[in-house]
């Protein structure tokens, strides 16, 4: 970076800080603690509070719901460096994201890379403005990790495809306005070759959804059924039958996102949280020597993973990142998060085993614990991630 670029960035930083200070309501400067704290947008969106509305609208108007998207699509047009500054300043202040959205995290990047002009103009601004809420139709009941074996078929009928089949693990399908979906457009082609990536309205005739009950209780996941849903062919993103390219691109995004779960500090050190319930011994140490050792090992690994996550970003910026590295991070981050919750359960003891009481906030801890068990399954299982590392990074034979 040249001196003048650096100076510009510092100007941007101080302006951004001042703007955030002036515009982020105090209520929006602490972490979300319930679902209602998160604003997802969409046709039926409601704000849970006035500060939530104000914060969303101010950020939207600056294009900062999607700070690094081009301005023409409702984005902020920020450079990579500026975007990093904005994130850092928001983090410093504890400011919440104004809008959560699979449109932002997943479909947007895919459209920017693979969408045609009409698709970009149609969909990106509505994502940026939180007008349309999206869900993702990838997994199918019988496909599991073998995503590409999907069976939902899209049959050509004039200018339309007619879609029949079902999806599973569609997060918030019951709230979503539109879906981006993988469908089989050529059943005779090889597994990865006959798939297309298509967009359609969830209010289309023939679409139904059903929430999935998890071992942790209610979940955002749904089963979604398509019974002869008619979709114009112009809604295919990229080339027909080449949807797998789009899917793979998106999966990497998703993995990078999920791997982040293991890295976050939780505020107080785990060991101190444990000491609250377990107590301390005569030397002031957590009064469960074995648990203490497990926590300390966890802390070492968590700190190391945080360094690696930071390095992964730096490598990407330096153009030295291996494209499959997100699989390595996804694997380790999710396994680590599972360890964190095993420790929290052990530390909580009896108190962490109640499922319905008010005292336990309806079993918040055990439900969170059980929910982490999906981390190493969703977005590609740990086994699939290790296979990708073996094949694409280590170049092992037959992997």
């Amino acid at each position: 970076m040249s001196d003048s670029e650096a100076a510009d960035l510092e100007t941007f930083r101080s302006e951004t800080r001042a703007w955030l200070e002036a515009n982020c309501p105090p209520e929006m400067r602490k972490p979300a603690t319930s679902d209602a704290d998160v604003f997802w947008g969409g046709r039926n969106a409601k704000f849970s509070s006035e500060p939530q509305r104000i914060w969303f609208e101010r950020m939207r108007d600056k294009g900062w719901t999607v700070p690094d998207w081009p301005k023409e699509y409702g984005g902020g047009g920020l450079s990579v460096a500026e975007h990093k500054v904005l994130r850092a300043e928001m983090a410093k202040m504890g400011a919440r994201p104004p809008l959560s959205s699979f449109g932002i995290w997943m479909l947007g990047p895919a459209l920017l890379k693979y969408g045609n002009d009409a698709q970009k103009k149609e969909h990106l601004p509505k994502i940026a403005a939180g007008e349309i809420r999206w869900c993702q139709g990838y997994s199918e009941p019988n496909a599991g990790s073998d995503l590409a074996s999907l069976q939902t078929r899209a049959e050509s009928d004039g200018d339309d495809f007619v879609i029949t089949g079902s999806k599973i693990w569609t997060s918030y399908a019951n709230y979503a306005d539109w879906i981006f979906c993988l469908v089989r457009t050529d059943p005779t082609a090889k597994k990865h070759d006959g798939i297309s990536f298509i967009l359609f309205d969830m209010t289309s005739k023939g679409v139904t959804t059903k929430p999935i009950l998890l071992i942790s209780g209610y979940s955002p996941f749904c089963e979604t059924f398509f019974d002869g849903v008619r979709v114009p062919k112009s809604h295919v993103v990229g080339t027909v039958n080449r949807g797998w390219d789009v899917a793979k691109y998106l999966l990497q995004h998703e993995r990078a996102m999920i791997s982040g779960m293991g890295e976050r500090g939780v505020g107080r050190p785990l060991g101190q949280i444990a000491a609250d319930s377990v107590g301390t011994d005569a030397l002031g140490r957590l009064d469960d020597a074995m648990l203490r050792g497990q926590i300390a090992s966890f802390d070492v690994d968590e700190a190391a993973l945080a360094a690696c996550a930071e390095r992964a970003v730096d490598l990407a910026k330096a153009g030295q990142a291996h494209p499959a590295f997100s699989s390595a991070m996804k694997y380790y981050g999710t396994e680590l998060n599972k360890r964190r919750y095993e420790i929290l359960m052990s530390a909580g003891g009896v108190d962490a085993l109640e499922w319905e009481s008010e005292r336990s906030r309806q079993g918040a801890r055990p439900r969170a614990w059980l929910r982490t068990k999906a981390n190493s399954i969703e977005g590609g299982t740990s086994e699939v991630m290790l296979g990708i590392v073996a094949k694409r990074i280590l170049d092992l034979p037959g992997a």
Binding site: D146, I215, S277, A289, M345, L353
Partner: protein, 379 residues
């Protein structure tokens, strides 16, 4: 003593398995949970247990029981572990019956043991007070009042606490929390004045309660064993409970492993049965070895209890610690290998994970028992 089942024991296992798998498969627990059953278990089934001699399995024959040993009790809890049947067996027939039998006066035995045997009395030990199992930290106060005592304090994770007729309450009559001296066990009628019972719906949908004791008045003959000197008796009772829970965890581990192996043999991914993937094969094989080793350790502990409860502490610590780590591993691998399906409530695997977590906490987790072993070995 050989570490294999005798012919009689094999018959007991077969008969328990027959009854339990027939009358109380996992769907039985699911139904009790989903219907929010007020007792959380089936009284009818408990009556069958009594009729088959299981309720009084450990009770001497003179009190209407079967007069069998801890190995036999473990055979039954292992079968219970396979289907996760909620049952008073652990709290009433293993822990409470052993407490009464080992610590009770002639009068106490005559009063309670026959009722346990015929299934008409449910009883349970109330021990834990804090988040973790720390028996010596017992601090529920029992102060002398006239000829008797007054109890004040609270207990958590009292198994079957909301349906029990009789509580066996660990209390402190002297000394500070942490000391072996000064512990006393009391028999408390669950309907006694000052007893407040809150049923707690637990993660495993089994039955437990929190109990508060507010100046509960007891007569002197409510003492089980000797005043201030209950530590040794309590050690024994707890070790018996630990052995039985460890056996339940072996059954649970074995069952969840069996279901997982079946899944590996039937589920296809990437054009292959997933059981063909060598990485999964090796993990399954490792888990198999873990379970077999744990099974042996648990049998060893039950035998040691049968030989001499007072000398079984190390074997029990090993068994409960191993059972904890093995069951944890078994349910984790079970969910992971079942993939997304394993995460749904619709599949049974999650029930095993939830029950394993409670079993792990009951009477001390793997960390607790590993620590005990280290201390016993002087390092």
């Amino acid at each position: 003593m050989a570490l294999v089942l005798t012919e009689e024991q094999s018959m007991l296992r077969d008969s328990a398995r027959g009854l339990i798998s027939d009358k109380a498969p996992v769907s039985h627990l699911r139904h009790l949970r989903d219907s929010k059953d007020p007792t959380g278990f089936s009284k009818e089934l408990w009556q069958s247990f009594a009729e088959m001699g299981y309720a009084g399995l450990l009770v001497p024959e003179e009190f209407g029981g079967s007069g069998l040993g801890f190995m036999e009790a473990g055979i039954v809890t292992e079968e219970i572990g396979r289907t996760l049947m909620p049952s008073p067996f652990l709290a009433t027939s293993v822990v409470a019956a052993s407490a009464l039998n080992r610590g009770g006066s002639a009068a106490q035995k005559s009063e309670y043991l026959p009722k346990i045997s015929n299934g008409s009395l449910l009883a349970t030990l109330a021990i834990d007070e804090g988040a973790k199992h720390r028996p010596l930290q017992t601090n529920l106060q029992a102060v002398r009042a006239g000829n008797g005592f007054k109890l004040s304090g609270a207990k958590a994770l009292v198994v079957d606490g909301h349906v029990a007729d009789l509580f066996i309450v660990a209390a402190r009559t002297a000394g500070a929390a942490g000391k072996r001296e000064g512990l006393t066990l009391f028999l408390v009628n669950s309907k006694a004045k000052g007893v407040a019972i809150e049923r707690t719906i637990m993660v495993d949908a089994h039955n437990a309660a929190r109990i508060e004791f507010a100046n509960v008045e007891l007569t002197a003959d409510s003492v089980l064993g000797e005043v201030d000197q209950a530590a040794g008796l309590l050690d024994g009772i707890l070790d018996i409970g630990r052995g039985a829970v460890a056996a339940e965890m072996v059954g649970l581990s074995d069952e969840v492993f069996g279901r997982t192996v079946e899944y590996l043999k039937n589920r296809k991914q990437f054009g292959k049965l997933i059981g063909e993937f060598q990485a999964l094969q090796h993990r399954a094989a490792q888990l198999y070895v873990d379970i077999e080793i744990t099974r042996a350790a648990v049998m060893k502990a039950l035998q040691a209890l049968d030989a001499d409860v007072a000398k079984a502490a190390s074997a029990v610590a090993v068994a409960k610690a191993r059972a904890g780590t093995t069951a944890t591993r078994a349910v984790q691998e079970g969910v992971q290998m079942h993939g997304g399906m394993g995460m749904t409530d619709q599949f049974d695997i999650g029930f095993f994970m939830k029950r394993a977590r409670i079993c792990e906490e009951l009477f001390g987790d793997a960390n607790y028992h590993t620590e005990q072993l280290a201390r016993a070995r002087g390092y």
